[in-house]
Structures are given as C-alpha cells and as structure tokens.
Assembly symmetry: C2
Homo-oligomer: 448 residues x 2
C-alpha cells in the first residue's frame, strides 16, 4: 500500500517536509496544499527584491512543476485547506476531500496588523509574501514618504531599502527601542543611530493608533501625534496561524504556538496525536538555554523542523532538539546577529544575567576592509553558563553567532569558554584574538 502524505503549507517548513518525506519514502503519494500563489521562496529576501538587488524570479526558487517533475510531489497553490478530520484522516481543501495516512501541518504565521482604523486604505502593506513585495515595489514609485510600523528586523531592513531608494522614512515602534525582545537596548541603539545618520526618523514608545486618509493613505497617528506619509508598511510581527490546530483541539502553549513532542507530534488534552506532525512558525518548542518554551519563527528553524516532520510523516524516526534560535539581519552595511536570550528574554525566564562586551575589528587592524565589530555576551549570574550573545559588525557576524550558539547549547560556562575557545586567524578574516573571545574575557571579569 502506498503511503499518502499531505502537507498543509508551502513555506520553509512545509516544502522541506515534503522533500524529506520523499527522501524517506520514495513511493509515497505526497500532496502539498497552499493558499499562496508562489511556493518555495524565502520571505527574508523581500527587502532586497523590493530594492532591485535580486530579481523576483530568483526569489522563488522552484515552481510546482519542478516538484511534480523532479520529486513526484503535487503542490496545489491557491488551495486553502479548510478542515481536517483526524478521525476519518481527511483534509478538505479547495472544495474536495483528500485522505491521508500522515499529515504535516505547517501553516506558518499570520502577519499581525493591529485592529485600528484605516488599515484597509490603499497604500497599506504587510511584508510576508512575494505578492506583498511586488505590490510594495509598484506602489512605491510615486511615493515620497513611507512610515514603517514595527522596528523589528524586517521593519528595519525595509526602512534601509526605502532609504536606498531615496524615500523619506519614518519608523514607528511601540517599545522604547528598535529590535525589541531579541536585542538589548545598548546594541539596538547603535542600529537606530546608524539608520538615523542615513536619514531615517524614529518615533519610539508610540503604538500606532490609526492610519489616516480617504481612499488612500495620507498619514498615521501614533503616540497621539499625526505624521504625514503616503504609504504604511506593517512589520508588527507574526502570530502563529493556529486555525487548523485549534479546530483539531490541539494543545496550545503559553506563547500561542502548538505544543509538540521532539518527534514534532502535537498533543490533544495532553496525549500525543498519532499520524500528525506540526512544524515551523506555528509551533513553540523547548528552549535550549533555559527550561521553558520559546518561539523561534525563523526560516532556518522552520527548515530543520520541516526535515524532521517530513521524515517522520514518511515512517522515519527523526528527533528535534531544544533551540537557541540564532538570527541575523543585514541592515544596510551593518549585520546584527543574536542568539539565545537577550536581557529581556532572560528576565522572562527569571534569570539574572551578567553581560560582557568587547569592541574590535572583523579583520586585522591593518588589513583593508576591516569593519568595526561589537560583541556582547550574557551569562547566568548563578551558574555562569553562557545564555546569549549579540554581535554588530560590517561582516562575519553569522559564523561567529553560530559559534557562540554551539557553546550555549553544550552548556558551557563563560570560564570554560575562555579556557577552551579557539579562533582561526588570518589577517583578512579575523583579529588574532577574535572579538568574541575578548567579550567573554570581559564577561569573566564581571562574573568574579
């Protein structure tokens, strides 16, 4: 009997699940349903595609035809999965009913747009799909002033894109810093300053209250002030899209995501649900840093979860581990990366954090192209275990944050790290003692 596998969702988790299901079971019948028009693209590429640095046709890596021909996977686009019956093992989608042996739910996240007046006006956009991006690019042509609501990484990447395109840019954020939650204020302030130097204006501590205009956008109200603009971008975060999990009565966790086992199976009233796997932005998972849940909502996390869910849906026995969620964002000429807990997240877990910091360069001082690098590392004051880090640099932040992530997930203390950590050195790729090690040295001093 051929195994029938259905995947709901064609984002990073869903498409990877389908591919790994195929790797695990060459004979299975695999069908993917998606509401989207395009599949297998990286939403993270949208800011650069809007700017014209990448062609839209390159953002979309593969077409449904590719999956059909190369992997024998049917991808049905613009086909919403409306209803799942986990007893009958069927999915209702696009007016038809399909049966499954195993099901992967990778419904991702929904852009959160605050329930305020004016969000339906022409000139209001979210940043999630390729279609969103193309509409932004097209509307932008006749626009001088753009307001970006939400100063997270996507918001700031879009702000940087608009500055490059010669627009006047205002960023509105309800918290008292940019990149709230995952970055500390001292690090975030440097990115804000960098964008201010390029001409962006920031309105902090100001929730967006309304979009103003008739027919099309003429301004926004935030923190009781009105700001004129012709276009509004909502980058106010993503909420887990739990419509189907809720309909199936799956247990939802403290952070609003589906609770899953290490095999990525959901629970219903505390019992594992057989034959269903959930992956990507829709789940929450154990933190690798502290006991307790975390929500990653990163493309890289979704891909790794999709691989586990897909393999298991096809009869495999893959396991998923606790996560530290390293991230990196490129904002103009600056890379900002982080991993594990920020000071804010540490306090959420009830941890008292101690921080160390060092400034240096990405290459030897004398080597052309060296850029400034600032590394901040956090440890738990009680155990001295490394719990987080943030880096701002002109290059090379990604590998270094992956390095610190590896130390965090293996439970290393700051002192252990200092004794054991080594860095490869060549004048054109690092300082002889990498700034990461100097930051941990500073941290160890603070922990004494």
């Amino acid at each position: 009997m051929v195994r029938e596998i259905i995947v709901i969702g064609s984002g990073a988790a869903g498409i990877t699940a389908a591919s790994y299901a195929r790797k695990t079971d060459p004979d299975a019948k695999i069908t993917v349903f998606t509401e989207d028009t395009d599949i297998a693209y990286s939403p993270c590429a949208i800011p650069w595609a809007v700017e014209g640095k990448i062609a839209w046709e390159n953002v979309v890596m593969h077409t449904p035809e590719h999956y059909s021909e190369k992997k024998n996977i049917d991808v049905l686009t613009q086909t919403k999965a409306d209803f799942v019956d986990s007893s009958a093992k069927t999915v209702a989608a696009g007016g038809k009913t399909y049966r499954y042996d195993s099901l992967v739910i990778a419904t991702g996240g929904k852009v959160f747009i605050p329930p305020i007046n004016g969000v339906g006006l022409d000139g209001v956009f979210a940043v999630r799909t390729v279609q969103d991006g193309k509409r932004i690019q097209s509307y932008l042509r006749d626009v001088k002033e753009v307001a970006v609501c939400g100063a997270g990484t996507i918001g700031l990447e879009m702000a940087s894109t608009f500055l490059d395109l010669g627009k006047e840019v205002m960023v509105i954020e309800m918290m008292d810093q940019v990149i709230p939650r995952i970055a500390d204020k001292d690090m975030a302030d440097r990115i804000q300053k960098y964008l201010e130097e390029r001409g962006a204006r920031f309105v902090l501590n100001a929730p967006v209250q309304a979009v103003i205009g008739t027919g099309k956008v003429r301004g926004v109200t935030a923190g009781d002030n009105n700001y004129p603009c012709e276009m509004v971008i909502f980058a106010t975060g993503v909420r887990a899209n739990t419509d189907i999990p809720k309909q199936l009565n799956f247990d939802i966790g403290q952070l609003g995501g589906v609770i899953v086992s290490p095999s990525l199976q959901p629970y219903r009233r505390g019992r594992i649900v057989p034959d269903i796997f959930v992956a990507g932005d829709v789940i929450q998972f154990e933190s690798a840093v502290m006991p307790g849940p975390t929500m990653s909502q990163l493309g890289s996390t979704a891909v790794r979860q999709g691989a586990v869910a897909g393999a298991n849906a096809a009869g495999g026995n893959a396991m998923y581990g606790p996560i530290a969620s390293p991230w990196v964002s490129v904002i103009g000429e600056k890379e900002i990366a982080g991993t594990g807990l920020s000071l804010g997240l540490a306090s959420w877990y009830g941890v008292t954090a101690v921080s160390g910091k060092a400034e240096g360069l990405t290459r030897a001082r004398y080597y052309p192209g060296a850029t400034e690098m600032i590394v901040k590392v956090l440890a738990d004051a009680a155990s001295h275990r490394l719990i987080g880090a943030q880096i701002i640099a002109g290059e090379g932040a990604t590998g270094r944050i992956d390095w610190i992530t590896s130390a965090i997930v293996s439970g290393m203390t700051a002192e252990d790290f200092l004794v054991r950590a080594e860095n490869a050195y060549c004048p054109s790729t690092s300082m002889v003692k990498d700034v990461v090690i100097s930051a941990v040295e500073d941290l160890c001093g603070k922990l004494k």
Copy 2:
C-alpha cells in the same frame, strides 16, 4: 618588593605575555628580550605586505617606545638571550646579566631550511620576519621566475602573491599534495587546481635537493630534475626553537616541543619547574580531540598561551586548555580553513575516521556575491564524535570553522550536532540551512 619579570621573545606569545603580566601586576618591572628588529607584528601579514596590499609600517603594530610609554614595559630589540640560569634566576642577554622573579620563554619557531647545497645563494629567502618580507619584495623586482619550496599555507599564500605580481611561479612539495598534514588530499587538490588555473606549476612528491647557481640563484633541483628560476622561497615549515629549553634540561616531547602543564610551566625530569612559563610555537600541548600531544604553531594559539603565561608569571592563576587548533588561510579568492584532525592526523592518533561532505553556497543562491562553499567533516568511526573539519569558500570560512571547533571541543557526536546545531540565516550571509549542517547530515548517513 617589585616583582621582576623577564620575557624572552617578542612574537605573538611574548608580547601578549608581557601585556598580560602588566595587567595582572601594575607594579612589576617587565623586560622583553628579542633578537628581532621589529616587534609586535603578525608574520601572517607578510604575503599581503609583499604584494603591496598592506603597508609595512602597518604590519608592525607597535614600537618598543609604545610599550615603554604606554605599558611601562622595556623591550630590548636585537638583544639575544644567550643563557638562563634557573638556580640563580638570571638571564644573560646582550652581554649583561639580568635577574628575574619569573621568566616567560616564548622563543617561538625557527624556519626549517633543508641542509642542502646552495641555500646561501643570493635570491634564497625564508618567510618569517618583516625583514625577510622586505628583502623578498625588493629582490622580486628584477625576477621573472620564482620557486616556492613547501606547499603549506604560507607557501601557497606567497605563491598567490607572486602570481598577482605577474611572476611565473613553481611550487615544489615533497608530499603528494599541497597543505599536507592539516588538509585532506581531496580538499587540498581543489586549492592546487585553483592556483594552476591562475598559472602556477606544481612539482609534487619531490623533495628539494639543491639550489643551483653561482653567487645567485639560477634554479633548483627537486625529484632529480632541474628547474630554472631566479629566486627560491623556503616555506618548509617551522621547528620549535628549543635552544634555551634544552640548555635548561626541560623535558621535550614526542613532537619536539617543550612539554608544559596547564599553567604553562615546563618540566625537568618529570618535575614542574617553578617560576618559569613557556608559551607559543616552542611548546606542544594536549589535543582537545584525542588523547595525546599536538603542536599548534598558530598566531591565535600563541596569543592565548601568552595571556596565560604572562598572567601566571605575574602571580595569577590562569589555566590553559587542550587545543583543536583551528586555522584559516586566504589564497587569492579562496579561503581554506580547518580544525581538529585531518585524515592524516587521525591516523597518527590511531583513529579510524569517517567523513561527510556537502557543497553549497555562502549566501542564498539568488543573492549577489554568493560563492561556492565545500565543507568536509570527520567523525571517529567508533564513538561518532566529531574530530575535524575543513572548509573551502570564497568568504565566511573562519566563523564556520570556529563553530565546528566549539562542537568538537565539547565532545559532540555527529548525531548530536545534527539534532542540536542551528545556524543564523539571512540571504546575504548564509543559506537557510548552512552547508556545515548539510555536511554533518551526509556524515550521519555514512556513520549508519
């Protein structure tokens, strides 16, 4: 009583030791002896300085005056320490005798030049000091053909420099591959091919037998053939400079380096020698990968050892840990980096290694500037522990090799790595699943 600290050697280990001694004891009298003319420079910068990409005055980071004025450290250049009396606690240098309370020996390595005919001819050079580099640069002007003896990283970096300067380049190596010992043949062959495409010729399996010429170089003999050239560069490796340790009857290890404790103190007939610390290219140390000794001879290692030796010489209590020795070399547009054991080193430790490999890109496929990246990872067939890795890429190899190093030194198995490893992702800095993770995935398949 003011503590008197003497440091012998002004390379990465010696100068760092002096600086950390000063940090640890603000009042100590600190004196550094060096045979060299210049101090506090990175020999790793020489290939780029010869090429003119870096000015010589920038390669030398600080002068003796800087150390005297800013750190109250006396650096005596061109002053050879001839003799140490560890009973009287004195050093004879430059015709005078100095007493010490504690002594740091950081005499580094001696360039190994094979004992063959013709090495005294004009046009024969080593690559170790700034003076070597300046002499090479000056002699090079009237030269068309250069032979580089030794295809290690320094030899290939020099070869690439000579190609950039329009010279004809021949590389002579006694082993059957370039970058022997620390790189595997399959990876090294790619670097060889890259240099061949740029015009370099390689003569492998051919020990250099003689330099030919009268007065000045006219050719070399290698593998019983004569090759015409006007200049010969010896990059045939570095041997621990153990003149003083041997004179002091310190125990020398299997690899020819001074054996030291984690406090970096030497042994004499198995007993710790008090008040003396040894650091840098002159020592061997425990491997972090397998039980047994290793020799790092890297600038980054020397700096970390210098910090420990200097702090301890000033009354501190710092400890040095086992080492994996990550390294990176930039050869034209290629970075090649490695860590832990190569196949050859694994066999030296009696380990059966299994390897996994993946090819991909340093950025998202569609992002401008993405370069090819090849990652090879090695595990111990018995325990499945990660024991080594090598990366070739156009960018970003350093941080990634530091990442894998961290996993190796924490004793992670390949399977653990696959469950726990995460990578930060942004289209301009990595693929959504980093090639490192794909390589470990391949490795796990091989280990099954």
